[in-house]
């Protein structure tokens, strides 16, 4: 079921990504790739640069250096790439719009203004395609409900449908399940898995639960300090390797607490 790791055929290839905010270097030559049909998890401590790397790929941040290639096309820094979609932790649907309109919005990039100035202008074919995407995530029957009325897990699936409607080849997900309860998390991870398996998307997900990462992904990338620490098939990543990612952060925390206790004593 899980595709082999074929670096040569990578759909998304990120090479030498660098990004600094002021003095602070957040990404330090990050390089990785994700192939079609593959789910890759990114693990790393808070502040290790996971979100920043994804935001650079989709053009929400402008990297200082590095190239991003999708399907052989090199992206311009700081600009959106139509073939790359993103699913956020906080989902970011427009809560007052219907589920269907939210999904249609994924296609805005390829619509002229005359067919997108209002939801009333969305062409019939687009609405039909959006219904198909909603069906794919199992929510076709909720199409006309307000997006804000759905539960967290359902909203996250609508966000995936919006990404599908964008006709993306690469799906990036930044902590897609950390706001969800365990049952909803399973649903969403299953969906990501099936998008890779059945639809051939390249999926990269930032996760904070190593267990989920091991169960649902082909490869796991470990980030620390803005660069890659390991890149291994999911089965080969043991508990120690994972713990190593978070250790420096833990130590810092403990040092701070010790200092505070001393001050009190």
């Amino acid at each position: 079921m899980r595709a082999d790791h074929l670096s040569a055929a990578a759909t998304l290839r990120v090479d030498g990504l660098r990004k600094a905010f002021g003095e602070k270097t957040v990404l330090d030559g990050l390089t990785f790739d994700v192939s079609s049909g593959e789910v890759v998890s990114l693990l790393g401590a808070n502040g290790s640069g996971k979100s920043t790397s994804l935001r650079c790929v989709v053009g929400l941040e402008r990297p200082d250096a590095g190239t991003i290639v999708v399907d052989g096309v090199t992206g311009k820094p700081g600009e959106a790439m139509p073939t790359v979609a993103m699913v956020f932790q906080k989902i970011h649907l427009v809560p007052r719009r219907s589920v269907l309109d939210n999904v249609c919005a994924g296609a805005l990039g390829r619509l002229g203004l005359s067919r997108s100035w209002s939801v009333l202008a969305f062409p019939r074919e687009l609405q039909e395609e959006a219904m198909a995407c909603l069906d794919r995530v199992g929510l076709a029957d909720r199409a006309r409900e307000k997006a804000g009325r759905l539960s967290g897990g359902q909203q996250q699936r609508v966000a995936v449908a919006r990404a599908l409607c964008q006709r993306a080849k690469v799906l990036l997900a930044d902590e897609p399940v950390s706001a969800l309860d365990p049952a909803a998390s399973e649903q969403v991870m299953n969906l990501l898995r099936s998008l890779a398996d059945d639809d051939g998307l390249a999926v990269a997900a930032v996760l904070h639960q190593p267990d989920l990462a091991r169960r649902f992904s082909d490869r796991i990338l470990g980030l620390a300090g803005g660069s890659l620490v390991f890149d291994s098939p999911a089965a080969e990543v043991d508990d120690d390797t994972v713990a190593g990612l978070y250790r420096p952060a833990l130590e810092a925390l403990e040092a701070a607490e010790a200092a505070r206790t001393k001050e009190f004593a």
Binding site: A85, H92, A105, L108, G109, W117, S118
Partner: protein
């Protein structure tokens, strides 16, 4: 309890640093001097106000007095109100209606331009700095001019009546509502905006599909709030000749019919409270504050 086991009491550290006291005294002195000077310039004096209560009393309740020059004056005060139906109340209701129409048109005619300015002047929808700056500058200038000054200008330019009042309100409102709207667009959740930007949406598309749906209730709430304010302003505009009940309040004062004037004022009070309640109700209804 074992207060005795507590360590010896600590000295209370001083509340203010000397530099802090100096700054505080300087600011207080400065404020006093400015206010004292302002009071002199405007002839503000508590004595005048206390002595003046007689004048206010006469104004409100009438005057019967024989003056040193031998003349006896009778003047009707504001109370009791003039409640004649066909001479006062009915025309008063008509003038009130006209005031509402002026306030209404002054609000709604400004919507398209206010929306344009709001979109230009919000960072969420326009990241092209020169245009953004220009939008804010134009609004600042338009907003700085009070409605009555617009009214005076338009009365001088295009004639009298309700129409210049409508234009004056509309222009002022473009600037004020544009600013309020752009601020509420600035405060919108950036998440959906970023999500659509990732999907390749242009700024205009982002505004139409992420920003406007999110801010619509608060825009509507602000619109209703401005309607409220504009009806009040339209009363004021009336007193400089732009029609509506304000004009008749001034006319009655000019004819020393204080009771009729006070009747109109009471109608204004009722009118504005009713509009206040109505717009509060509607705002709750559309889910904005």
């Amino acid at each position: 309890m074992s207060i005795a086991t507590r360590p010896p009491e600590q000295a209370v550290p001083p509340r203010f640093r000397p530099s802090g006291i100096a700054v505080g005294v300087a600011i207080t002195l400065g404020l006093i001097i400015v206010h004292w000077y302002a009071a002199v310039q405007t002839n503000t004096s508590p004595k005048e106000l206390i002595e003046g209560w007689r004048g206010l009393w006469n104004f409100l309740f009438g005057l019967d007095k024989t003056f040193p020059n031998g003349k006896t004056i009778h003047q009707d005060g504001a109370f009791p109100l003039d409640l004649r139906w066909s001479e006062t109340i009915r025309p008063g209701l008509e003038y009130c209606l006209l005031t509402i129409w002026i306030g209404l048109l002054g609000t709604t005619l400004s919507i398209p331009a206010a929306l344009l300015f709001a979109i230009i002047s919000s960072r969420t929808t326009n990241r092209f700095v020169p245009l953004w700056l220009a939008g804010r500058a134009v609004m600042s200038v338009l907003r700085a001019i009070p409605e009555t000054v617009y009214a005076l200008m338009f009365i001088a330019a295009v004639g009298f009546g309700a129409f210049p009042g409508v234009i004056a309100l509309a222009i002022h409102n473009v600037a004020v509502m544009g600013k309020l709207w752009s601020e509420s667009m600035d405060e919108v959740d950036q998440g959906p905006v970023e999500a659509l930007r990732v999907a390749g949406a242009s700024p205009v598309q982002t505004a139409a599909h992420a920003v406007l749906p999110a801010v619509m209730p608060s825009l509507l709430g602000l619109l209703l709030y401005r309607f409220d304010t504009n009806v009040r302003s339209s009363v004021i505009l009336g007193t400089v000749g732009a029609g509506g009940i304000g004009f008749f309040i001034k006319t009655e004062v000019d004819s020393f019919h204080f009771d009729t004037m006070m009747t109109y004022v009471c109608m204004v009070i009722v009118l504005i409270i009713v509009i206040d309640l109505f717009s509060a109700w509607l705002r709750r209804k559309v889910g904005a504050v």
